[in-house]
């Protein structure tokens, strides 16, 4: 059994393919570990209570909320954040679609929306706008950019289908 005491227990997080050794207490969430310790500020803190989706990241390819995940729990698992989507400077199809469709206003929810959308497409939930709305419902946008977000997800899903041969 792995035990970590009150402080000073280093944990290894694999974030976007790089290993980070972080000296953090057990109470540090994955969200705070990313922002305050790994200095990756793309993942946003909205409600910090599992209600808004702004902190959505992928753990072993599945979308989860970083604010309700303890960093210690995901030690050794593959964590992907918004910073890990672009490859060699070229944006992910979902990132491009969000820009093309102007799928944001203030932008605060956007990295969570995009991380959620990538997973939503991979899960095969983009067959209709109704399905997109249902399976994107965990990401709130207080600016109300929903129609453009749905359009961007629909468009990106088609782009990713066409580009499947390239694995993107």
């Amino acid at each position: 059994m792995a035990k970590s005491a009150i402080a000073d227990a280093g944990i290894r997080l694999c974030i976007n393919g790089s290993e980070h050794l972080l000296q953090i207490e057990p109470r540090v969430t994955l969200l705070d570990a990313l922002r305050e310790y790994a200095h990756l500020f793309g993942t946003k803190k909205g409600c910090d209570q599992g209600q808004c989706g702004a902190c959505t990241v992928h753990v072993d390819g599945r979308r989860v909320l970083a604010c309700l995940t303890l960093a210690s729990q995901v030690e050794g698992l593959a964590i992907t954040t918004i910073e890990g989507l672009a490859v060699n400077g070229s944006l992910h199809a979902v990132q491009e679609a969000f820009i093309r469709h102007d799928a944001f206003q203030c932008g605060y929810c956007t990295s969570g929306q995009i991380m959620s959308a990538v997973a939503c497409i991979n899960e095969g939930r983009t067959g209709s706008d109704t399905s997109i709305r249902e399976y994107m419902s965990g990401n709130l946008c207080r600016c109300g950019a929903y129609p453009h977000i749905v359009a961007a997800v629909r468009d990106a899903a088609q782009a990713m289908d066409l580009g499947e041969g390239r694995g993107r």
């Binding site: 109470r27 209570q49 709305r133 399976y135 990401n139």
Partner: protein, 331 residues
């Protein structure tokens, strides 16, 4: 959030021992309830025993006689299981209509059964001191407070907090059992797993300290194969039920006489609520809309409202009726 000791268990006996060894320690699975309530100041564990890497507890076996779901199965995996989706719709529907895609990827089936009420007075100890569930003997702020979301069935003068579950409603309708372990295995019928608040609303389950849920088992039946979960809520998705119904139906060979019917309600009671009087009023009768509507009205017999939650007494029977008419193919 208070600090605590973190222990990652890698075998069931280790997890049981770790909890036994330290007073105030709790199991940690998906964290969607525990970490949330720790941030609210409701849960203040001295240690968290992370059970998410225990082997063998995330299997799903959908056999001819029963569906057995390991306690660490994630809500999303159970909801998407091909056999469960196709053969036992209420189990899948009650899961994917709960929470959001992200939370369903995190939350486990065992944790889902242990989720706590969404009562604001329970969740905000810094603002409201009176909550018998959180602090026995302190009173109930919801009785005279904002109680639109509160329960009208199974309440007591001590507590009117609603059980927020969806999946548990399906389990109650279809006679599931919960398997727990603490050295030796124990089977708890689902009806006994959720206790009424009475004078002790802080006690919600008959679990002994350190007992670990290892699986849930649902016996299959023709009614489970013809089943449905209807959830009515304030927004279309990602919201708790104001009233919900898990129903199942089996007709005689004549295609119209009711042989077996199951009805359980969510969102309106202090525990997932089996409506046996509705079932009894329907068995042996001809399935038609007037009969279904009349029987459904029995669902909230004896209900007690607290002002703002009064609408649920009228709403819940309609939800039951619509769910039954949907599985009966007449709606």
């Amino acid at each position: 959030m208070n600090n605590f000791e973190y222990v990652r268990a890698t075998a069931i006996p280790d997890a049981l021992r770790a909890v036994a060894d330290q007073a105030g320690s709790r199991f940690l699975a998906g964290g969607t309830t525990m970490v949330d309530l720790m941030k609210c100041g409701v849960e203040v564990p001295s240690a968290l025993i992370d059970i998410t890497r225990l082997p063998g507890l995330d299997t799903i076996e959908a056999g001819p006689a029963s569906v057995r779901i390991g306690a660490l199965s994630r809500m999303s995996d159970v909801a998407d299981h091909p056999t469960i989706r196709k053969e036992f719709p209420v189990l899948s529907e009650s899961l994917w209509r709960g929470a959001s895609a992200q939370l369903r990827n995190m939350a486990t089936i065992g944790g889902n059964l242990m989720q706590r009420t969404r009562c604001s007075y329970f969740r905000e100890p810094g603002v409201y001191s009176a909550c018998n569930k959180r602090n026995p003997g302190s009173g109930c702020a919801a009785l005279e407070g904002v109680n639109r979301g509160h329960a009208v069935l199974g309440t007591s003068p001590s507590c009117i907090a609603t059980n927020p579950g969806d999946f548990a409603v399906a389990l109650v309708a279809f006679d599931a059992a919960v398997y727990v372990e603490n050295g030796k295995p124990r089977r708890i019928p689902i009806d006994d797993f959720f206790t009424l608040p009475g004078d002790t609303p802080d006690v919600e389950h008959p679990l002994s300290p350190g007992e670990l849920i290892v699986a849930v088992e649902i016996p299959t039946s023709p009614a489970l194969r013809r089943s449905h979960y209807l959830k009515v809520r304030d927004r279309e998705s990602y919201e708790f039920a104001v009233a919900s119904a898990a129903v199942g139906l089996e007709l005689e060979a004549d295609g119209r006489t009711i042989r077996d019917v199951r009805v359980a309600l969510g969102g309106i009671a202090t525990r997932p609520w089996r409506a046996r009087t509705v079932e009894a009023a329907l068995v042996g009768r001809t399935f038609d809309e007037p009969t279904v509507r009349a029987a459904s009205r029995l669902a909230t017999e004896g209900a007690v409202d607290h002002g703002e939650d009064r609408f649920k007494i009228d709403l819940a029977p309609r939800v039951v009726a619509r769910a039954l008419l949907t599985v009966g193919g007449t709606s």
